[in-house]
Amino acid sequence: MRIKTIVLPSIISLFLSGCMDIEPTVLNEINIATAVSYDYIDKDHFTSTAVIPYYMPDKKVNNVTFTATSSLSKDVRQKMNQQTDKPIYSGKIEVILYSTELAKHDLTRMTDTLIRDPSIGNTVYLAIVDGKAEEVLTKQFGNVDKGTYLSNAIEHNIQSGILPKTNLHLFSYAQNAEGMDPFLPIIKPKNGNPIITGVALFNQGEFVYQTKEHENVIFKMLVEQSSNKEGFSTKLGEKLFASVYNISSKVSYNIPEPMTNSPIIINLNIEAVLREFTGEKVDKKEIRKIEKKMENVLKKRAEKLIVKLQKLDVDPLGVGEQVRTRTRSWDKKEWEKLYPNIPFQVNVKLNILESGAVE
């Protein structure tokens, strides 16, 4: 007993005298990168730019960027560290941007390092920049740090805008899933201000197509159960417009004969609220008319989009997954052969619940 009381403290003091060998990362003695961009140089090299916010005591934020060129992203960090006063850490990266050119040359290699690194969270946003990715990061705007600004921008567009849910995890999910292709938001810098313009579609890791403005809403509806504040408008007749925003939309698949050339039916149920109407009076009949008209427009848009996707041979909607979960011993190769030629039929059902505060 006596021995124990002497030995224990001495052992404790021995090992606690600082040989745990952990590298401390004291908050104000490191540089925390919040956003990183990658630009294409040639097949093996890329330029990487990191944004590091410097918080000023007067609550202002200075975004400082560091750029380096290399062939490995960890190597890049080394080169950036040579330029800074404090070591750069990547644990709080919010957004990672890739230029379209880089994205055209397989992103798989780039995302692999992100998944492997446990300090990078699964909820990081990936995005494609239409043009040079560096441009989005180098220009100072507003009084916030760049990473937070971009991630907030993407986040609110997911919650109530045109973007379907996206992040590193979902990207890797789609990349690895057998019957699905990933997509990422696409950003276009305009005078340095980033504008989210649509969705970039990938074939596995390669960027192939950028959605047009009129495709965005229907794309989101087809990808997931969504609610959307943006809404959509239609021309009902001459000088007669109606605009609604959907409260909720639900997509369901009806595949009577999977893995054959028979048609796949996609049912889209939308509940919406009338927001704008240039006609004179809204009554039941009128609403029915608007519903019908809009259903037709949406159906056409959806079918057109799907045909386009088939032509590009990408499957961001995950139709392959729908078929796979309906077939035993599914064969990926066979499906890839089938996919471009399957006829799709989209049934849209629009239900206008409210017509606003007036009749």
Binding site: T123, N176, A177, E178, S329
Partner: protein, 363 residues
């Protein structure tokens, strides 16, 4: 013989069994079973659970008929020399299991938190913690098992966060794999359920031993349910190829969890895991210590110090992931045989022996 104060009430067996069944394996068992059984992995989880329900029943039948711990059964059935040898096998198994669990945890710490951590100093700290628990006696051990279930139970709430990204269609089509694949997954899954063999040692310390079976079965069912829940959510959350790349799938979906005051929940999870696995390791070390002290009649505290030194040395020696994996695979293989082959055989033997003894008694 046994002090009444040392004994525990039978319902605490529930926590003892539950605690050893849900251990470090929870962090990454999904990869193993999904590799072979894909979206049908959940069937393997149920199958393995039911298998172990039978084994628990076997153990209790054996113990209830013999009314003593494994050490005693061995010496009674096989005599001093052979029995002693078999005892040594079990003692080694428990000790190595303790080390395997501990090393697996250190590996998680190394991979996620502190890649440069000095394994030796960390092991010394942890060994002190284990010694402090084990030397407190079985009551303290049961206590830490109990708290080790209660305190980290808040983690179950985190299962709601990944649901947002979960697609349960992935479970379809049901039974898309061959029996062989599912059997393979069941074997892989059984590693996660193992650990309650320490029951063979603490059986005499239970107050109303006959009632304990019920609680052990209940614990087995609860761990089955929690594994099932985790498996189903994981199947929905990850695509099949994706999960095969994640060594610690549970940790990866904790990084989805975000609350206003904390992000990157996996770090909190790893810290909480200390309380989660400490009882596990302690129980194994305790069983090995107890066995040895009965076998060689040495003071238990000295043996536990020796074992802890072995634990420290072994965890330094097991350096890279490959050796750790080989070690763990080997352990799970040995464990599987011990549980599914050895225990039933022992049960049969003890049954036959008791019959023979009865006959000779009658004659």
């Amino acid at each position: 013989m046994i002090n009444k104060n040392e004994q525990i009430s039978p319902f605490l067996v529930f926590f003892l069994v539950l605690k050893v069944q849900i251990g470090v394996g929870v962090l990454g068992f999904q990869r193993l079973i999904i590799k072979s059984a894909g979206n049908d992995a959940w069937i393997a989880v149920i199958a393995a659970g039911l298998l172990f329900s039978i084994i628990i029943w076997c153990m209790f039948t054996l113990l209830n008929s013999q009314k003593q711990d494994l050490m005693g059964i061995h010496t009674q059935l096989f005599g001093k020399v052979l029995g002693g040898f078999l005892n040594m096998i079990w003692i080694t198994y428990w000790l190595l299991m303790g080390i395997a669990v501990y090393r697996a945890y250190v590996e998680v710490v190394q991979a996620w938190m502190f890649p440069q951590i000095n394994v030796m100093t960390f092991s010394i700290v942890f060994a002190l913690l284990i010694y402090y628990t084990v030397s407190g006696g079985f009551q303290v051990l049961t206590g830490i098992c109990f708290l080790g279930v209660i305190i980290p139970s808040y983690l179950i709430l985190t299962i709601f966060f990944p649901l947002e990204y979960t697609d349960f269609r992935n479970l379809l089509p049901v039974w898309n794999h061959s029996y062989k694949e599912i059997a393979l997954a069941t074997r892989d899954m059984s590693l996660s359920y193992m650990g309650f063999s320490t029951l063979l040692m603490f059986y005499p310390l239970i107050k109303h031993q006959k009632k304990a079976n019920k609680w052990a079965q209940l614990a087995n069912i609860l761990s089955l349910l929690s594994y099932l829940l985790l498996t189903i959510v994981s199947i929905g959350f990850y695509s099949e190829n994706q999960i095969s790349r994640y060594v610690w799938a549970t940790l990866s979906f904790w990084s989805i969890v975000e609350v206003p005051f904390i992000e990157r929940f996996e770090y909190i999870g790893i810290a909480t895991w200390v309380i989660f696995i400490l009882p596990n390791i302690c129980l194994f070390i305790w069983a090995a210590t107890k066995g040895t002290s009965i076998l060689f009649k040495v003071e238990p505290n000295r043996i536990s110090i020796l074992f802890l030194v072995i634990l420290i040395v072994m965890s330094i020696a097991l350096k890279d992931r490959e050796t750790i994996n080989t070690f763990q695979d080997y352990m799970s293989y040995v464990g599987f045989i011990l549980y599914t082959v050895y225990i039933p055989i022992l049960l049969c033997l003890s049954y036959i022996m008791s019959k023979i003894r009865k006959k000779t008694h009658e004659n």
